[in-house]
Assembly symmetry: C2
Homo-oligomer: 342 residues x 2
Amino acid sequence: MNDTRLIDIAAALGISVTTVSKALKGYTDVSAITRARVLEMVTSMNYKPNVNAVNLRTNETKTIGVIIPTMVHHFFSSVLNGILDEAENRGYLVIILQSNEKYELEKKQIALLLQKRVDGILISLSNETDDFTHINEAIKKNTPVVLFDKIAKLVNCSKVVINDRKAAYDAVTYLIEKGYKKIAHFRGSYTPQNSIDRFLGYKKALEDHNIPYDSSLVYLCDHNADFEDGYANAQKLVNDHKDVDAVFAVTDLVAIGIIKHLNEMQIKIPEQIAVFGFSNWFMSTVISPKLTTIDQPGYEIGQRAASILINEIAQIKEHLPVTHQIIELPTQIIERESTLRS
Amino acid sequence: MNDTRLIDIAAALGISVTTVSKALKGYTDVSAITRARVLEMVTSMNYKPNVNAVNLRTNETKTIGVIIPTMVHHFFSSVLNGILDEAENRGYLVIILQSNEKYELEKKQIALLLQKRVDGILISLSNETDDFTHINEAIKKNTPVVLFDKIAKLVNCSKVVINDRKAAYDAVTYLIEKGYKKIAHFRGSYTPQNSIDRFLGYKKALEDHNIPYDSSLVYLCDHNADFEDGYANAQKLVNDHKDVDAVFAVTDLVAIGIIKHLNEMQIKIPEQIAVFGFSNWFMSTVISPKLTTIDQPGYEIGQRAASILINEIAQIKEHLPVTHQIIELPTQIIERESTLRS
DNA sequence: TTTTTTGCCGAAAACGTTTTCGATTTGCCG
DNA sequence: CGGCAAATCGAAAACGTTTTCGGCAAAAAA
């Protein structure tokens, strides 16, 4: 346990702890020469400040908390990646918690983070969450919160999102312009804003191009919007509607489920039915045919969210007024084989 | 900022901080009645201890650090999941860092964790790492370390692994017993123990079944052992060896790359060439044909590793001798279509 | 009654920093 | 040479706990 303390290097130098501390923190009332001596002794004795003492004294932890619905998901992994990088660059550590899409757990975890006195919180809401008092509680306690991806519009804080509605609109418009006539939609469950917006974008695009909206063409994938959902519903789709020529899926995973079933039924993609995904999960280049999809910049979302949060932390510390910002990151269509008729 | 402190509830009750603290920590020298009053006041005033003060006083942080090569990987996501669950159950928070497979970064991050005074460290080594002084440094400082997955046998600490060699041996033996004669191996790079062991298991299984080892049947996938590796090498394989009837891949991702190429070449799986993966990544059920593979219990690895670490932390705190343990978690063959000849 | 035990409580030190405020010295100018 | 400003330092309080140690009362033993 070679933990050298301020008092140790003070003793070694024959000066006071006060001066040592001040030398390190850039106070002006310490001479250049003693500062140099302190700095040298600090490295030679390998001094590392005791964060617990610092935290107690300064009442901050240089730590931010992150709550995500799930970790085992490529999109959230990317977001986390962005958060971790930005946090490290700015000298912050990151505590990660998973809500497993449960509201109660999410609530508990906010409380845990507040108790641990993290300097700020990044959170993507669980699908269950429809009450936001726990978030507001954190904000009221002067702990800044930044919502990302799955947000709540009502909460008064900064947010980093993509425009799901526009992205979906663009996707469906793309399909229409490619000549597809009867476009089905495999939507996610009813609560998360994401799947609502994507559905609305789908609907709007149809209407704007004079294609009547037909609710029987919308299939609900509420079992996590995963592979099985797409697979099972694809079965129904080909039974119900012989003349569908394209599907816009709420998720790459759903899209891959669709592709798998169509492949098994020997239905040609995109000749008979085109498939459009959402997320640009790297797996979408692995399957056959390669999936056309919407690129969602996960890494950048994480990075921006962390950056904004850390800025707000600094502002609060300086007692400056914080202005919340809503960042909308651009998405783009990644055109691949699954919609590309020759 | 409603942060009530011990002194506040002491004042509210007209007693001393000492007694309040003792009531909360289960000391015997506080009467049942005052203890009850304290407990009541604690909940009514919503008291939460200031962790920084507690940490400073007790010299522990109730936090463990985790370093993994990468987060965007299903296996590590699962491991993290296990770690997070176990940690939360035992009242610990988790700080996660990524080494991005870089030795230098890994070294820096160990230092960072030590500086933050985490109570223990979980780490899966980067591929580059071949020097272990940074790990030993942590151990010397009385911060317990548990290695998992990508370990170093030389480091004197607890480890949680699967038996890669045996798993590979079983896989290849399975192929041989199914009647496959000429079995290629797509191996990972030369440094990580994992891919070495899987290669050795492959070789041993051949020898034990009187099949001569042929080094030209071993293809190196050293570009992250990912999808592209499998795809590219599969191309070489079918050129070089017309008579190969099975491939054992170091990773599901590599296996999927192989499958993709074979599908494109209209080579029937498993009739002409069987494919065997490693990891039981959930994607292996999504592709066609579904991939036979080795199930690697990621979640359990994380859980066990965290559990062992937290036990050791407790032992060190009580000044008990710690006995390091090496846990080998069982793997099993998941038989699916890619090796199942009808 | 006196002595001893038991039960209950509080004063105070300690953990390692940061920061305020006052003290001391030095140089400078008149 | 006196006085003032600037430069440099240190004592001490504070952050909120935990824990040791001793004190004091009431109950039990003598």
